[in-house]
């Protein structure tokens, strides 16, 4: 690893992050699709943006197996957290209103 090649890689990552950010803004102000479609599209671009940071800057693309194991557990519990919240929204106690 040398500093010059690291700088070159970082410039590319920064440009990619700037592009994905611009894409999110463009989608947000566009008139295509309804609100759910827009939100899904924006979050999909945000995931790409997050992949760039996690994959290249945090070196997750070439990390040790134990780190991946920790992250798999994290993803499982995070999905559970979001999933249970959404599930609870459809599960009102009898006699209450939304």
């Amino acid at each position: 690893m040398d500093l010059k090649s690291a700088i070159r890689k970082c410039v590319l990552v920064f440009l990619a992050v700037a592009c994905t950010t611009s894409m999110m803004i463009a989608v947000s102000f566009s008139h295509i699709g309804g609100w759910p479609v827009k939100v899904a599209a924006i979050l999909a671009v945000a995931v790409v943006n997050a992949f760039l940071v996690a994959g290249y800057l945090m070196h997750l693309l070439s990390e040790k197996k134990l780190i991946y194991t920790v992250l798999i557990f994290t993803v499982f519990f995070f999905a559970g957290l979001l999933g249970l919240t959404l599930w609870a929204m459809q599960d009102f106690p009898v006699g209450t209103t939304h």
Binding site: V17, T21, V27, I42, A46, V53, I67, L81, M89
Partner: protein
Amino acid sequence: MEIPYTIQARPDTGLYNAKLGIWLFLASEVMLFGGLFSAYVLLRVGAPEGFWPHGWLSVTLGTVNTLILALSAITTLLAWVACKVGDFKKFKLFHACTLLLALSFLSVKSYEYHDKWIHYEIHLKDGRIADGHLVRQDDQQVVIEGRIVTDERDLYDLRTQKNIPHDEITLSRDNIVKMENYGPRHNTFTAIYFTMTGLHALHILGGSVVIGFLWGPGSRMWKTNREQFTNRIEVSGLFWHFVDLVWIFLFPVLYLT
């Protein structure tokens, strides 16, 4: 007694203690912010039709902060690479940039908070609502730079309203029923906005203190134990990248959707 694997990686995992420790800590942080994102989803989906704010936050300022944080993540990585290749001067330079960028991020955030703090929604006796930024006030009157609306829903979706007129409006205190700024208690949106961005800003502040220490007095370790110092830079860098990751989701969720 010497604690093993503080510098060298454990042969079976390939990790030194602090690296495994920071990843476990970041996993707990994912759950912390995950809980808040869940709360946001719950509030957003549960809001009555037409009563969830759109366009209340400046996309320009949010974009500037996104780029500032992305740039700081890059200077953090380069500071670590500089340590790896033994270039201490470059390390100092890159981490000084990180600190300046962190300060810039917090400055922009403070400006945004201040803007919300001086922005008032004023309910009048005749049912109309005055909305705008406070210019001055005394015992008799309140002066704002803004507009008056008759329907509260006009205050929620600012994206669809073009060229909203803003005039200096003088209101007598006798005509005011309720006056409240756009602070955390204004509504559920401002509550979750201040909670999430406030917690994130605290992380930025905490990370800046650690990076500042490693840049300043903590950098003496470079002379005594170069490898452990480089590990510290890597671990603090991982935390900083995580803070950037959180913002990558906060920005679209709060500013764009």
